[in-house]
Symmetry: D2
Subunit: 495 residues, 4 copies
């Protein structure tokens, strides 16, 4: 028995369904804070719960549509949740993307399980490459870790983004060395890491975290070149859940005002204070030369994962069409034309992500990786088109999305009847249904889930400029210039 | 003494400054509701107060920069607040627009006094035209009303948008006749109106309201063809203040979390139940043929008034530049390029609005009206460019705007120090200053004032399609076709 | 021996390479007109020749890169040129698209062989479906035709677009029945067709043409519901080659002024006057119900075929980079950024086309068809992005592309030396090379090959609105609305 | 009598109308080359003549609409052609822009007289400033020159763009000092200049040229810091007229094929070989510190002058509407919507240019200059919107614009009747009229006048990046940041 085995003892019984998942989150001793207060039980916190519901859909889908949500793994030698699977062929990535779109449609938000999924694929190949070069045993360790995770069917989160401090400086040059996560101590059992990770998607809702470096490292950054897996309730971890737009509306308004009462995303700041990682869960320690390929592979996977936003796009297009129907204008030519434009943009994103999956290539470990250029192109479209889709949805919905009275006013004796009288749409439409659909559009374009649909679409998996840098690297400009010279009748390149 | 004089008794003493204005709002008996509860004193309501602060800036500006905020009126024969002035030459409209941009810069939100201003200009010319045709006395009445309002320096709100019900039907065809505001009774003292007005900007913060029809009327819609002025505390009026994104954050988070703690906009639903209007305050009653020109003139004024958004744009561009400075990247070429793009789009809006003012034309009453084509073009640009400016601001600001811990966490002993440690930017920048500027960007792009900067930019003064219809009407396509035929060598038009 | 066999006698010896192809075009008796004159030998006509060169590249590619340009067909049971292959799996479509991009890179223009290719795939499945329903023998006939064409390695053109006359009327309602191609006579040997086809790509450079209806037909349009194959030199055919921008510059200027002297596209008007088609070459005659699926399948294939424009995009990006290098500004940040943007747009088109190939589905005949939604989305992007890519190329290239002296001026003793003195770029760059690359950019953005890169990208395979109609049909709006209702908490659809 | 007087002897009799203008161009001894040949009489050259016709419209307009085309000058103390007038108030610039739009509508191309006009305004203020500082007499000389030019009513061209060679080097650092125009000799009568100017609009069609430096100079660039006026037929000048897209179609096709047979633009390379300039015509010689403000003022004037493109836009919108009418689809909703979009974009350009005129400010000399920020914004919109307008025009027009047979085919006995049969549109439309309007659209979007409407819109008066640099300079970012800080509650700027 290795020293890590004890860490798995709580996960002996695999999580099968959403109820198991909720149960698995209860009773953990974690330092979770939100709005200045310690959250004793996140599962019961009204603002956090919708994010847990969204994560739970990844279990529900596996039960309801196993062809989409599960896949046989040759690691665990059994069917596993697809969020725990290393892609073994392009088809695996294609189905992964279909699953992501479907979960986007089901939740209308970020379901938070993709970072860990993409970390798994990345670690599989990078540990393999390090071992081949250095004779280390990272890959074997990683496989063993993954096998256990697959068997237990846990949620693995991925933690990458460091605070970075002064962006013109490398980790070892920062005045505060903790501004990048690093190894602060080593002993015969394992390593101890300190620092922080920011914008961590769904961390509080996970069971394990894989932490990874956030950028290219230099030799002097050895201590910062570290990858490992830890339990989210490991001693030394503190979580500060970030505020989202209108996160508290579910509390102060109600289900209708929330727009999408059931589902939401979650991001938090995680602080690490001498967190212990046993050797068995360390997958890189000092191999700074591999940090850049780790980051490139992770972002290549993860940028295509933004196909999920086309699922949100489906919901928003549907909501806009429903709102138009409530107003009796669904058949008007400019409305139809806007719905077509929204669909065109949404499917363009989808096509880029899918092409990046279909044209995946194998790495040395056997894991398949999306086409790098197309994955960057896909994400770059995600930084643009949802904003236009959202604008068009608001155009169709009308100004009422931002001037509508609260659900609570409906229940007031004096003004409730007035609202019902004056907010009605075409005959046959319930006033409350009209309000609900407008609140959903508000939710996705300017309120809580706009965080995921818009801002996260800009910055998740790298900001727009990060994609442009990768596109510049991959654009084979010399080859293109040679083609142009040939057609122009130029015999050779200028000096 | 006319029967309306009593209604002015509370305004004997003119409002001079912001403090007078706040005082003038207190102690009124109004039926105001928000989130299911009656609001006893809106001035003291933490969610409503920022919208009153924004309105108050129109008084402050008049004191601090009288050349911008005031103008001599030939009606009151004295200097008046520019928000109470009928434009008497193109220069009046030019300065009006400069004032609006400046107020946008000061408040970062909608300061709510333009609807009433544009209603004044509209009523001036329409009442004149009706009187010339019909021998009525509306214009004289209106001038008297305005003279008093100028002397008292009150806030006049404008109320136009009816609920509309089934949009394929005229007012008189609706199953519920109240779906458009209408005269329900007449007696020798005046008229009584019932119905509702939606999306009413700053109504609760006003002293008087001018109500107007919302669209072209037919002969059968005589009772719905009505214009008049009422006090906002007139018996029979009920206000339901609409919810805005994150309106309650000021309560549950604090000043920093709010992003712009001081200023916000306000929209409400106003219900009219047999509200009395004395003859002296009735400016149209049954002259349905004038409803369409009233609407066209109002929208022509009001679409150019959206120049205020360039003031918000100034703030947002500045905030993005400040955030970039905090991150130490202000000099990076792609950041600079994005700031230039934001400025280019912002100044394009400005140029369209200003051209529409400079090329204003006089109407029969002597009031000047913005160029109709250019005003529509200006507003149409407002339905597009702020969305792109907001996207670029978020691009520069980074994902932290939507994942940042609450201000309350800063005050927590356990996590406060951790946040201060990890959220710092370049040397010399206070963590709290960094957080403040990011919250301001959040505020304007996805939180409370995004309502005004984005959604209201789409729908205020008419949705995009409304501008396209006006552009189509004004585009002189036959003249353009003749020019093309001439250059193409075609001797005559096809049959 | 069937009556069609004589028509194949000239093609006994298969065309193997480009030289064979040129030879195969010579000496045919065709009625070809250009600029008011009969063209006795198109192969030798300086304006037409570049279009023949472009077509010839499809033969060259097959020789040089057989994995791309050829494929084993189960119809001929031998390797055939990929332009004569019916796609038998998604991979066939994927490789087809790679071949099209490569030919775009090689020629910088339209190589004209895709219409026929896409007609083959379409006829394969439609004839199969008709036979299954009606017991006809069209599929067998078609396979025999195709087998012969594959063996002979001929160029098959496709002819679809009718003149259409009054677009609000069906074929049988037109005042002139010839405005849609139709059967005017039938006898025991075959049928006789009259009418015209417009915008016919590469027709003069082909050996055979497959003609097809251009839109949905009604029962009264039986005589217009006709598909068949004819030799391009069949009696009764007349070709009027259309003018292209600057088509004559190759004559009046020279190779350098032409920009791309070697390659160009070609479109012509084909008039049919009682052209005989033996029964063996008739693949539909009267089955009007199948016209709409024929058109839909053809456009689905053909809209994805516009992936070729990404090959032109590669050339144009390379040319812009080369021009920037000549000016010594390739490393300037705004130049690099524009090259990245061009690449991003180009690869977005590519990704949409490739996704449409990878997600192809089989039809009853076994032929695979691109995903319909994605193919429409792909083409719709082609109607937009090349215009922006071209604008950026001109931005980088500078105004000299439209103000540069002629190549002939270079050879003039007086001004030649002056041009060489003043038009030089950075050290090490030949003035003539600089001029060549600028002429290539001119060629692709505003001169002869802009026809193919821009206007044809708009209108080929259907104008933008045609794609929007298909997107509207395929966007599953009811399903999307149901998703939105579910998340909004609405129990059922409004009536 | 000053030594320059002899140079004016040919212009004793003022040019009054277009006929006088044509006469004035005849018989001059100029070194003009086109396509490798010396052009003996440009007025009679079929390719050059349309550009002369366009220039002649500036005389015709003055006769037909004197309120637009003429203005009283306080310099000549008489009415002068507006193209020779120094703007003395904002209204002068406003009317100038209306004149430019009208000439754009009349010619559908570049009428070439604005560069000289904007050079006049610039020299007026710069010479004044130099004299004030240095006690020179440039301003007096310039006024005398202008007075004579106004009296003679000649065309003054402006010459600014130098070849520039290695763009990273100043003029005095170039390996060939002639790569910027410079003084090579001075004697008691005047100076002698050598070098070249590129992309010179309408130079061959002018009577005089004002040459100016093209960019900021340093002290070592004194000899390159020179401004003066010369006759276009001065000894030592050579012109090479540049090729334009399809410039020869007027010769090889005919009037219809040309699309706009009457009007076109013109750009040429001008080489200066020791060209003598008498002192009286030297307006700067060595005052290198003023080169940058000269360039900034010129571009500020000239960028707004691109309002002329809205006149071309009017023609193109009209042509698209006419083409739609010929096809019987003018009332279709997507067509109408595209015409509205084209108009919106066109009027947005107009509004920016007009705002820049209305908000003009006076300089020390009394000349008014457009608002710098708005002028840059206006031109920046011109680098974008015409491309989209052109794309939409092609969308509406259909593919026939690039596949249509030549006019010559119409006259051929065999194919003429076929074309008339098959190219007809809706009833009542002449086939030739349909062809003419399509050729006009081709002309403006992909053929000869696309040079002016598209490429020149990009690069004339400075490429897009030049405007971005000016916008960056003028955007007052510190002021904007201060506004943001204030609203965010930040007390002071970060260090």
């Amino acid at each position: 028995m290795d020293s890590s085995e004890a860490l798995w003892v709580d996960f002996k019984k695999p999580i099968v369904n959403a109820e198991d998942y909720f149960a698995s989150l209860r009773g953990r001793r974690m330092n979770v804070f939100f709005m200045g207060e310690r959250v004793s039980e996140p599962v019961d916190h009204p603002v956090i719960r919708p994010s847990i519901n969204a994560m739970a859909e990844t279990y529900r889908l596996a039960g309801e549509r196993p062809e989409l949500g599960t896949v046989r793994s040759e690691i665990a030698r059994q069917p596993v949740n697809r969020f725990l699977h290393v892609p073994a062929n392009p088809g695996d990535l294609v189905t992964k993307h279909e699953m992501q779109r479907e979960l986007g449609r089901r939740t209308g938000t970020c379901f938070q399980r993709c970072v860990g999924l993409d970390a798994i694929g990345t670690c599989h190949s990078v540990t393999f490459d390090i071992d081949v070069k250095n004779g280390t045993k990272y890959h074997e360790r990683f496989l063993e870790f993954l096998r256990r995770a697959q068997a237990a069917n846990v949620v693995i989160g991925g933690a990458m983004t460091d605070p970075k401090g002064d962006r013109s400086k490398a980790p070892h040059q920062q005045s505060d060395p903790d501004l990048f996560l690093r190894v602060v101590k080593r002993d015969d059992k394992g390593i101890y890491v300190s620092g922080a990770k920011m914008h961590q998607t769904g961390a509080v809702n996970s069971h394990w975290l894989i932490f990874m470096p956030t950028m290219r490292m230099t030799e002097a950054d050895r201590d910062w070149s570290v990858v490992g897996a830890i339990r989210v309730d490991a001693p030394g971890l503190t979580y500060v859940v970030g505020r989202q737009t209108n996160d508290t509306r579910i509390v102060d308004g109600g289900a209708m005002d929330a727009g999408n009462a059931q589902f939401a995303g979650q991001e938090s700041l995680i602080v690490f204070e001498e967190v212990f990682v046993p050797h068995e869960h360390v997958f890189m320690d000092g191999e700074w030369e591999y940090a850049s390929s780790l980051v490139e592979r992770f972002t290549t996977y993860h940028r295509s994962s933004y196909v999920c936003k086309t699922g949100l796009g489906d919901v928003l297009i549907g909501a806009a069409a429903e709102a138009a129907s409530h107003n009796g204008v669904e058949g008007v030519s400019h409305i139809k034309d806007k719905l077509v434009e929204m669909t065109h943009l949404n499917e363009t994103i989808y096509s880029s992500c899918m092409a990046a999956a279909h044209q995946a290539k194998p790495m040395a470990s056997g894991a398949y990786l999306n086409d790098e250029m197309l994955s960057n192109v896909a994400k770059h479209n995600v930084t643009r088109f949802p904003f236009e889709i959202a604008r068009l949805a608001q155009d169709i919905a009308g100004g009422l999305i931002v001037t509508m009275p609260s659900e609570k006013d409906l229940h007031n004796n004096e003004v409730g009847p007035l609202i019902r009288k004056f907010l009605r749409g075409r005959d046959g439409v319930e006033v409350t249904d009209r309000m609900r659909i407008l609140r959903l559009i508000e939710n996705m374009t300017i309120v809580r889930n706009a965080v995921g649909y818009l801002t996260e679409s800009l910055h998740g998996a790298g900001s727009p400029q990060a994609q442009r840098i990768q596109i510049a690297r991959g654009m084979k400009i010399e080859e293109k210039k040679a083609r142009a010279r040939k057609l122009a009748g130029i015999s050779q390149s200028a000096k």
